[in-house]
């Protein structure tokens, strides 16, 4: 310790004066002290769509102009004239045609090559990395949304921080310290909630968890009812039902900051083409219903929907007309305030060795940083364990 503590470094002084200048120009409202109300904009909704199993990005955004694509996919390649063309290089799988309306309206951001360094090819470990926003070799217990809401809580008037629809795996909302609901049907939830009486926390970890869950039920149950009757027709699929439940929660008085829905079955090691086509159609029709329904209640402009998955798939198809676990993947950010367009890049498939995987162009934590800083205006550094540059896919 050579410097004296009361001396402020020149750099820090400049940072302070900059902050003070900014505060002066906005009447001080931007200076968030510990006891000031949170500046977080949790009135903006995040809808996470998990494509469970690892969707094949190379047949989702088809790089038809890359000569390596047809070479790597003798059975699975989708012809240029079949895709929904987005640029002179790439287009969407034909089953994603319903997303074309979003693209034309500048509401679809295509994030290419999303992944992380030192990729793990295990489903479980890799989705854990995505859900906890950890480094490849780092093991964290809490989901990235759990850490977000622990650091910057949602308003006390919210019925819950987030809702997991139609799945019993809490994903980004896992780990203690958050108010997370899992539900399949709001009406049944309210009916059954009468059996629950909240009690103070006590006992071992398992008992504390049960008691916490009971408290979450009691807090949420009174506000999940909704007057709104949607005119939107939701697809008659499990995913369509999940989208409908998500929309009902958003239409209720509950107020939540995040919803996670899941579409599973993407682990297409064999006979991929019909399975992926069906799943992508369900995805696109579900997203179209989400957009229409949230438009009805004037929430599409305050909604950001984002797909994610544990990993993409290998460029080279396997001998079973399927694809094996890969790395970087394409994802979609969608919503009324999304700046449509292409972001990142898809790696060239030319001259890849047979078992090669591609390097990522966008770290997935940059996508999270965009949500935290540009959507909710909360600090991302502590949540993500470092500085990840946000992407410009939101209109601010």
């Amino acid at each position: 310790m050579t410097s004296r503590p009361h001396l402020v470094s020149r750099r820090r002084f400049l940072a302070w004066s900059g902050a003070l200048a900014a505060a002066a120009s906005t009447g001080g409202a931007e200076l968030a002290f510990a006891d000031a109300p949170s500046p977080a904009h949790y009135d903006k909704l995040l809808v996470l769509i998990e494509l469970k199993g690892g969707n094949d990005g190379f047949n989702t955004l088809v790089p038809f102009a890359d000569p390596g694509y047809a070479e790597a996919r003798p059975k699975l390649a989708i012809a240029r004239d079949a895709v929904v063309q987005l640029s002179d290089r790439a287009g969407l799988h034909p089953a994603l045609a319903p997303l074309n309306a979003l693209w034309k309206n500048n509401e679809l951001a295509v994030l290419q090559g999303v992944g992380y360094s030192d990729p793990n090819l295990s489903h479980f470990r890799s989705i854990e990395i995505w859900d906890t926003a950890s480094k490849s070799q780092e093991y964290l217990q809490q989901g990235w949304l759990t850490r977000t809401f622990a650091a910057t809580p949602t308003p006390a008037t919210f019925a819950a921080d987030g809702v997991i629809v139609g799945s019993n795996d809490m994903g980004p909302l896992a780990g203690g310290g958050t108010r997370a609901l899992a539900l399949a049907d709001p009406a049944r939830f309210m009916q059954r909630a009468k059996l629950v009486h909240a009690a103070a926390s006590r006992g071992n970890k398992a008992l504390q968890h049960v008691l916490k869950t009971e408290a979450d039920i009691v807090q949420a149950a009174s506000r999940l009812d909704s007057e709104h009757a949607f005119t939107t027709l939701f697809p008659a699929t499990a995913f369509g039902n999940a989208i409908r439940t998500a929309c009902r929660v958003v239409a209720s008085r509950a107020s939540v900051a995040a919803v996670r829905v899941t579409l599973g079955g993407f682990d297409t090691h064999a006979a991929q083409a019909p399975t992926q086509a069906r799943l992508l159609r369900e995805l696109a029709e579900g997203v179209a219903a989400l957009r229409a329904a949230l438009g009805e209640i004037d929430r599409w402009n305050s909604t950001l929907a984002l797909t994610y998955a544990e990993f993409g798939r290998r460029p080279q198809e396997n001998q079973s007309a399927g694809t094996d676990h890969g790395t970087a993947n394409v994802h979609f950010a969608m919503g009324g305030r999304v700046q449509g367009g292409m972001y990142g890049e898809t790696a060239s498939l030319a001259n890849l060795s047979p078992n090669a995987n591609v390097a990522h162009a966008i770290d997935f934590r940059s996508v999270y940083a965009t949500i935290l800083e540009r959507w909710w205006t909360v600090d991302s550094r502590a949540v993500l364990g470092g500085r990840f540059a946000p992407l410009p896919f939101l209109v601010t």
Binding site: L121, A182, L183, R192, L195, A206, L207, S320, G322, D324
Partner: protein, 492 residues
């Protein structure tokens, strides 16, 4: 030293001999207390953790045994075949025949419907077996291995193959882990589920090779990607005979070349690779840790796991030796471990029915209720099985559990009516009712187990003190109903 103390003992006075015996007894008591009787609370702990609930009569019978005797009785009672007769469509090979590739859409649809119905019958059958088995430990271990060696009908499609895998798991559930591992690797449902049938010479599919190391034996971090790639080559050619749905080795698809796994090289086949895996110490450690989480606590004691895993290896992977080591360990009976395990949905459903001595005529509604709580038997969410522990409980599943328990306690029999009805294939030992009979149940509880009927009932039903003790009151049905709604009923 030993010889000298033997001589001393032989020449010592009767008083000194008695003191020596007492000291020896204390020394043993500090570790395993072989001669102390279990008593009601330890008997309940042992039975509920190694089975599905327990009737008051069973708890009372075990309370008069020592730890060692009780574990002997549990292990001696284990069986290798289910007692409930399986639905005929699961044992008839004709039901497995898939429609030809060019079959009409209607034929394919009929096949899918048949498999769905057979799958429902399969779930109901297994849940009934959990209820009527003379060896709940056998079923508990069969369920444990189902989660460990997870396969799902969602992918396997053919219900009869899921049934056969269940038969294989039960046959080896308390047998030898090495035998079990080899049998599972060649099990047709597993061959489909982890794509071994797609794994051919020159075109290896790594799915099974990866999961057998990551999830079934060694655990992450104890193998290299290179080991997976080489092991996958060894499993090439393992296939299924289409019409019978049985294992078939296809030599022309097998890669007979030299593979290098864990630094050892040879023209290994799949069985050789499994033996290489079984020779690694991490395997016994991994299985012991998994069983500890199932039976003892969510936080395995590293030293105890190391000690027990060594015994498991010394016993050449004899699962009974492993179970004995765990079930006689002080850690199993420790006060701090009580009520730390979250009950699985299957345990909550089958265990509640067993505890209350209810055998419904139709198990299907109960299998569906179990699925609604997050455990759709024969369809675990992925190859890791059900995550278990706290993950069993979220707002959705907890409400499903509470509603189920409310219906049971109110003697609402899921549409079956309230008439006394013996189960069609119920156990011969005595007639059980299709709904909760509070008087018959309470008659099993001896008077010396509590101050009043409320205290006696709670001692049979709850693993630790109730959270909301004040609201548990009234007559016996009222006490049971309130106890089932108490948060600690979710634990064991």
């Amino acid at each position: 030293m030993a010889a000298a103390s033997d001589r001393q003992a032989m020449t010592a006075t009767p008083m000194a001999r008695a003191l020596c015996a007492l000291a020896a007894c204390w020394a043993l008591a500090a570790h395993a207390a072989p001669d102390t009787l279990l008593g009601v609370d330890d008997a309940r702990l042992l039975l509920t953790r190694t089975g599905f609930g327990a009737t008051p009569a069973e708890i009372v019978a075990f309370s008069a045994l020592s730890r060692h005797q009780a574990v002997d009785r549990l292990l001696d009672a284990t069986i290798t075949r289910a007692v409930a007769p399986p639905p005929p469509e699961l044992t008839d090979p004709a039901t497995m025949l898939r429609p030809a590739r060019d079959a009409a859409a209607g034929e394919r649809k009929a096949f899918r419907r048949r498999q769905r119905d057979a799958g429902l019958a399969l779930r109901a059958w297994w849940l009934r077996e959990m209820l009527v088995t003379p060896s709940p430990l056998t079923e508990r271990m069969t369920l444990f291995w189902h989660g460990h060696f997870a396969s799902s009908q969602q992918k396997v499609k053919v219900a009869a193959l899921m049934y056969r895998q269940n038969v294989t798991l039960r046959a080896n559930a308390v047998g030898n882990f090495g035998t079990l591992l080899h049998a599972v690797a060649k099990d047709p449902a597993m061959l489909v589920y982890l794509d071994t049938v797609q794994n051919r010479r020159g075109h290896a599919n790594e799915n099974f090779a990866r999961e057998v190391m990551e999830l079934f034996t060694l655990g992450e971090g104890h193998y290299a990607e290179q080991d997976i790639r080489e092991a996958a080559r060894a499993f090439t050619g393992w296939s299924i005979e289409r019409d019978s749905g049985t294992y078939l080795f296809r030599p022309r698809l097998h890669d007979a070349g030299i593979k290098t796994v864990f630094g050892k090289s040879g023209s290994f086949d799949g069985d050789d690779v499994l033996d290489l895996i079984l020779a690694r110490p991490e395997t016994a450690r991994f299985i012991t840790t998994a069983l500890w989480r199932e039976l003892v606590s969510p936080e395995p004691d590293a030293a105890a796991v190391e000690r027990i895993a060594a015994r498991f290896r010394d016993a050449h992977y004899d699962i009974k030796a492993l179970l004995r080591a765990v079930l006689e360990d002080d850690a199993f009976y420790a006060a701090a471990a009580r009520g730390t395990l979250v009950r699985s949905p299957a345990d909550l459903v089958a265990g509640t029915l067993r505890t209350l001595d209810i055998v419904p005529a139709n198990m299907l509604p109960y299998a569906i209720a179990c699925a609604g709580m997050g455990q759709n038997l024969f369809s675990p969410p992925n190859v890791r099985g059900w995550p278990g522990g706290d993950a069993w409980i979220n707002t959705n599943t907890l409400l499903a559990r509470k509603q189920f328990l409310e219906r049971i306690a109110r003697a609402d029999n899921f549409g079956e009516g309230a008439a006394m009805a013996p189960a069609p294939e119920g156990p011969p030992r005595r007639l059980r009712s299709a709904k909760f009979d509070a008087d018959a149940w309470m008659a099993q509880v001896p008077h010396d187990t509590g101050a009043d009927s409320r205290a006696r009932a709670l001692r049979m039903l709850l693993p630790i003190d109730a959270v909301d003790a004040a609201s548990i009151k009234g007559d016996v049905p009222g006490v049971v109903r309130a106890a089932l709604q108490d948060p600690v009923y979710q634990l064991e």
